[in-house]
Symmetry: C2
Subunit: 309 residues, 2 copies
């Protein structure tokens, strides 16, 4: 399973109800952060997440509402005496941003900080980590902006206990080896192959994050078949022109992306303070009319995703 905690779900300016963009993901035993708007570290603490578990931070783009919490977070990890390596991903220029703050505010870091810049010309990158892949593709905002996906490796198929019984595979380590994909030789000399007792491999978890962006095929590519897509939903239906001009999406457009990508769940995010609560309901309803499995993100909301049966 994986878990998502929305830390800030507002757009551009914090309101009394929504902080600036940041989302935590607990995946594969690691804690990731997507975007780091001002106040992210404060929300991080309110959500009772542990600084010592944070391992990777992904920055979509360099607008302040996604970025200005980063220097404070990096400083506070230091103050919390974190020693784990932090991998910081984002557009080209990110290292310059970090270095400026380290120098200007005179903070050193005792933990290893690895800054991974995606070159401006790149049309996407990926990194294979232990058990999962990190994917990145440019999405469609006013400035260079990157969408992200975390895709778990395929999991082994289901172990067919009946078939193993029928074949006379004894309970114990032999069954474990078969589950892991190894052939085993039984005491009577027969060789049992994994495919005789293990089903087809099953897809792993898949999380996608596409903010800020107008509708773009790269968002569909990142989210294809995902358990959860978090997508920009800064405008409401009828405001497509404003959305396009500012490099954002309407709730309805986000729903179309989710439908194209055939995701399990869409979370509308980057909710503008222009909208009153009843209008947020309109955002949600308009998206659900296109893609029913839609929720609207809210600060400190937690969501857990289990493997399909």
């Amino acid at each position: 399973m994986f878990e998502v905690v929305f830390l800030g779900t507002g757009a551009a300016v914090p309101t009394r109800f929504r902080n600036l963009s940041s989302t935590a993901l607990i995946f594969n035993g690691e804690l990731f952060l997507f975007d780091c708007g001002e106040g992210a570290q404060i929300q991080f603490r309110k959500a009772r997440l542990r600084p010592g578990r944070l391992s990777r931070i992904f920055i979509s783009h360099f607008h302040g509402d996604h970025l200005f919490g980063l220097p404070g977070l990096l400083t506070s990890l230091q103050m919390a005496e974190c020693t784990q390596p932090i991998h910081l991903y984002g557009p080209e220029g990110l290292a310059e941003y970090v270095d400026f703050h380290k120098k200007f505010a005179r903070f050193g870091l005792r933990y290893p900080l690895h800054v991974v810049e995606v070159p401006d010309g790149s049309d996407g990158m990926s990194w294979q980590e232990s058990g999962y892949q990190i994917l990145c593709k440019p999405i469609a905002h006013r400035i260079r902006c990157l969408g992200w996906a975390i895709v778990e490796n395929a999991r082994p198929g289901k172990f067919d206990v009946e078939a193993a019984d029928r074949l006379g595979v004894p309970n114990g380590p032999d069954r474990g080896r078969l589950q892991k994909g190894e052939a085993v030789e039984l005491s009577d000399g027969r060789t049992i192959l994994p495919e005789q007792v293990v089903g087809a491999s099953r897809r792993g978890h898949h999380f996608a994050y596409c903010m800020d962006t107008s509708p773009t095929p790269n968002a569909i590519a990142l989210a294809k078949g995902a358990d959860l897509l978090i997508h920009d939903s800064t405008f409401k239906e009828g405001e497509e022109q404003s959305a396009l001009q500012s490099g954002h999406s309407t709730a309805t457009q986000a729903a179309h992306i989710a439908r194209e990508a055939d995701v399990h769940l869409l979370a509308l995010n980057h909710i503008s303070g222009r909208y009153m609560p009843f209008e947020e309901k309109e955002l949600l309803d308009s998206a659900k009319a296109v893609f029913p499995r839609t929720v609207i993100a809210s600060d400190l909301k937690r969501m857990t995703f289990e493997y399909e049966a």
Copy 2:
């Protein structure tokens, strides 16, 4: 009268109870901000202060917990369509900090931003504004750090109604002119001088802000006779060595400064997350033993200061 709203009263790292350094002052019809730690703009909104009234921002020093909220605040003033001039005061280098963020996060400002840097070599500056003076002096931190005071011009003395009656000054505009310091000629030809009916001029309001700092004579100079001194109180009694090494004060040291400066009220601020609530009581008690008119700051606490009778 003037009003103070503590926005963030913590030290170094935000806690669930205390945000990072920022204090609002409503003085003479203007809204000032002292320091701008991360989250200041969020607390500003929570306190229901109006962005359109903000006119002056004072930065003590360039440690992140006093500074990292500034780019977000400046951006949000823009988003709120503020048009009033903003005067931003702080140590040398402040303009570079603002310019870096404007360029990096690509925000322009439609309101006039006047950055006033206090040169590194300067041992103090002052500015006479309409009705009050702004004072600045270096205080004793690990890096260049400035203390601030806002000192209202002396107010005219009390009008002595009995004396005016006795002298036969008629009710009406003549009394107003005398109050303003002008001589008036009565219908019977006598000249009445202001000093015949108006008492000695009275001191105006005086606010002083000294964070972060070890005990220093400049804090006493800035706070001499103030209605309110907000002073660094990062450590508790017995931790003088740590306080000195890190450029901070104990609560007791803050109280000694307040006593030397003969202020009306001391507010302990920059309260460390190391202390549990019962230890915060110790901070307060140890200060009160030296200077009884002491309070401990807390987030979103508001205090109003009236003129003396």
